[in-house]
């Protein structure tokens, strides 16, 4: 009797999740997977084919964008980590605990406005007739305005900015659990700042770093808005290729194939990352 009740309880709470996963994620993906193996020739005849995937490898622009996206996503993840670690360390260990919450709110604040607005904010700052150029001209540092938008570096800046919070928060939570006396003990035993960082702080923070990195990497890889607006035509992002296939070329089959390639890519990179840091997913998502 009890057992039955328990089972019904479990079913009751699990059902919405399972339904949500199935209807909104699994089903469309199955549909996309099927579509990615369909090919439609000029006469409108449909057939099973690997052509969509072959296109990807035969056309350099596709796989070059793909590799570029992967490398830049890893770079963005790494840069975000390099900036987030000192920030998280400062929040947890240096600053007076009573300001900790306040600082976290400050970090959160930009996320109260939509990504679109934030990106336009950057564009106002960086464009040729923007705020920064205006001041540089006024101060006489520049003779004529320079275009700071539509470069890879600008796009990376925007992506790092967008991702910061997702790296800082998990690192703050692992550093919170780091006993200060471990740092002091290492210092007392002769370690300098760098050894403490690499032998004590980073090993302790690894689960948080890995989980932050996974989130940042996935968000960056799948980001469409920031690369599109800040990178412009010069900085192609793979999501833009997918968009082009679906919307511009109206080639849903090709778009589906690209979508699946991106999914495989992110899975492989995350798996490699976990292997390299000797973490497992279960520990990281805790």
């Amino acid at each position: 009797m009890m057992k039955n009740q328990k089972r019904w309880g479990l079913f009751f709470f699990l059902a919405p999740v399972v339904l949500w996963l199935f209807v909104l994620i699994v089903l469309p993906h199955i549909d996309l997977l099927i579509m990615s193996f369909r090919y439609e020739d000029f006469d409108g005849n449909k057939s099973w084919s690997l052509k969509n995937y072959l296109n990807f490898f035969e056309e350099p622009i596709y796989w070059l964008t793909f590799v570029r996206t992967a490398i830049y996503s890893i770079l963005v993840t790494f840069l975000t980590f390099v900036i987030a670690l000192p920030v998280a360390f400062y929040i947890t260990k240096v600053v007076n605990p009573k300001y900790q919450g306040f600082l976290l709110v400050l970090l959160l604040l930009p996320f109260w406005v939509s990504e679109l607005v934030r990106v336009y904010g950057w564009m106002i700052l960086l464009r040729e007739s923007g705020v920064i150029n205006h001041f540089l001209l006024k101060l006489g540092i520049l003779n004529q305005p320079i275009e700071m938008l539509y470069r890879d570096s600008t796009m990376i800046l925007g992506l790092v900015y967008t991702s910061m919070l997702f790296m800082v928060v998990p690192i703050v939570s692992v550093l919170d659990s780091l006993d200060n006396s471990l740092i002091e003990a290492a210092y007392d035993l002769g370690a300098n700042m760098w050894t403490i960082l690499f032998k004590i702080i980073i090993p302790h923070a690894t689960p948080g770093i890995v989980s932050g990195s996974i989130v940042v990497f996935m968000l960056t890889l799948g980001n469409y808005l920031t690369p599109n607006l800040m990178g412009g035509k010069n900085s192609l992002w793979f999501t833009e290729q997918i968009y082009n296939q679906f919307i511009a070329s109206f080639n849903w089959n090709q778009g589906s194939a690209f979508g699946f390639l991106l999914l495989v890519l992110s899975s492989i990179v995350v798996w490699l990352g976990l292997k390299l840091t000797r973490q497992n997913l279960k520990k990281v998502v805790q």
Binding site: L182, L189, G190, K199
Partner: protein, 362 residues
């Protein structure tokens, strides 16, 4: 004798709070020095200043004659054992012990040798590959000590390392630590709030209260002739009477207590008749039913309120007749006093040499 550690007029203030107030002391090479005080008396701050984790506001700290001013903790020839040991959980036992040696840049073979020798010395041979969380409390303790001793520091600082252990293990570690110190000959500076730890292990004990040292002495002297009322009360148990001096000479005084009793006791500082005083008396200084022939005893009668049995440390809880002062009286477990029951009236006597008398501090 070489002085390993000299602390000279060291003061530490936090905003307007004085944590350590003009403290000076010296620790000789190879000795076991304890700083004993209640929590919040500034002893941890003092230790952290010696380790270099906190800078003193004033005064100097010298280690083997060299001033430590401005020298960071990783360059000081002292090591600190933390209250909760602070073993590195991301490393195994061997790596923990090798940590300091690696930082010093010793070569691999030397490190391995030294780690193994050290493990042997603390009776943990073969534990090098164990994880820290596989160890028991006592073993962790020994790893923490090994991790510091392997660096052969001039002074080893210990911040209440036995505090987290259970009673039985603490008793055992007390003896072990003392033996280990004798074996390695390193100078130990040990801080604790547990007077028994300090008394059992130390060559010298400093009693600290509210940022100042009340007395630096051997454990025997601290117990038998405390310099201040605080030391008298903090080190060991004491019964306290308040009263005033009726008459006195250089060595002894007659005191009338507030509950109307007359006692004769030795005094160690000149006093005047009429001075308000506190009289301290150890539980074991009070003899139960003393022989009528014994001279120089202060005798009075008490009512037994309770028998507090605690093995060799058993006590009687008693009130003097017509007074509600509570007295603790040592009850030797020799079966000689087995007849004593609750509510019995018994006679107590104490020798005038065992009284400790101070001018009233309050």
């Amino acid at each position: 004798m070489q002085i390993d550690l000299a602390v000279k007029e060291v003061t530490k203030t936090f905003d307007d709070f004085v944590a350590v107030d003009n403290v000076s002391f010296e620790v000789a090479d190879g000795s076991f020095f304890s700083i004993l005080g209640p929590s919040g008396c500034g002893k941890t701050t003092l230790l952290r200043m010696i380790a270099g984790l906190t800078e003193p506001s004033a005064g100097t700290i010298e280690i083997r004659g060299k001033s430590m001013h401005g020298i960071p903790p990783n360059k000081r020839p002292v090591n600190l054992i933390f209250q909760h040991l602070a073993l590195f959980p991301m490393m195994n036992v061997g790596e923990n012990i090798a940590f300091g040696l690696r930082r010093r840049g010793d070569d691999k073979a030397t490190i391995k040798d030294k780690v193994n020798t050290m493990l042997e010395r603390v009776d943990l041979t073969g534990f090098a590959d164990k994880k820290v969380d596989q160890l028991s409390g006592g073993q962790k303790q020994r790893v923490a000590i090994a991790r510091c001793l392997v660096l052969e520091p001039a002074v080893l600082l210990l911040d209440e390392p036995l505090g987290a252990l259970d009673l039985k293990l603490r008793e055992q570690m007390k003896v072990e630590l003392k033996k280990l110190q004798a074996k390695v000959g390193t100078t130990f500076v040990y801080i604790t709030h547990d007077q028994s730890e300090a008394l059992v292990m130390s060559d010298q004990v400093a009693v600290m209260n509210q940022g100042v040292f009340e007395q630096i002495d051997t454990p025997q002297n601290l117990y038998n002739s405390p310099d201040t009322p605080f030391v008298a009360q903090f080190v060991g148990d004491n019964n306290t009477w308040s009263g005033h001096i009726r008459q006195c000479d250089q060595k002894a005084a007659e005191i009338e207590t507030n509950d109307g009793r007359l006692f004769r006791t030795k005094i160690r500082q000149p006093m005047q008749p009429g001075d308000e005083v506190d009289l301290f008396l150890r539980p074991e200084a009070m003899l139960i039913q003393p022989d009528a022939g014994l001279a120089n005893l202060n005798r009075f009668e008490v009512i037994v309120k309770d028998l507090l049995f605690d093995g060799a440390n058993s006590r009687l809880l008693a009130n003097p007749l017509d007074a509600d002062t509570e007295l603790l009286i040592a009850l030797p477990q020799t079966h000689q006093y087995d007849y004593i029951q609750k509510n019995d009236k018994i006679e107590i006597g104490w020798d005038e040499q065992s009284g400790i008398c101070f001018p009233r501090s309050r």
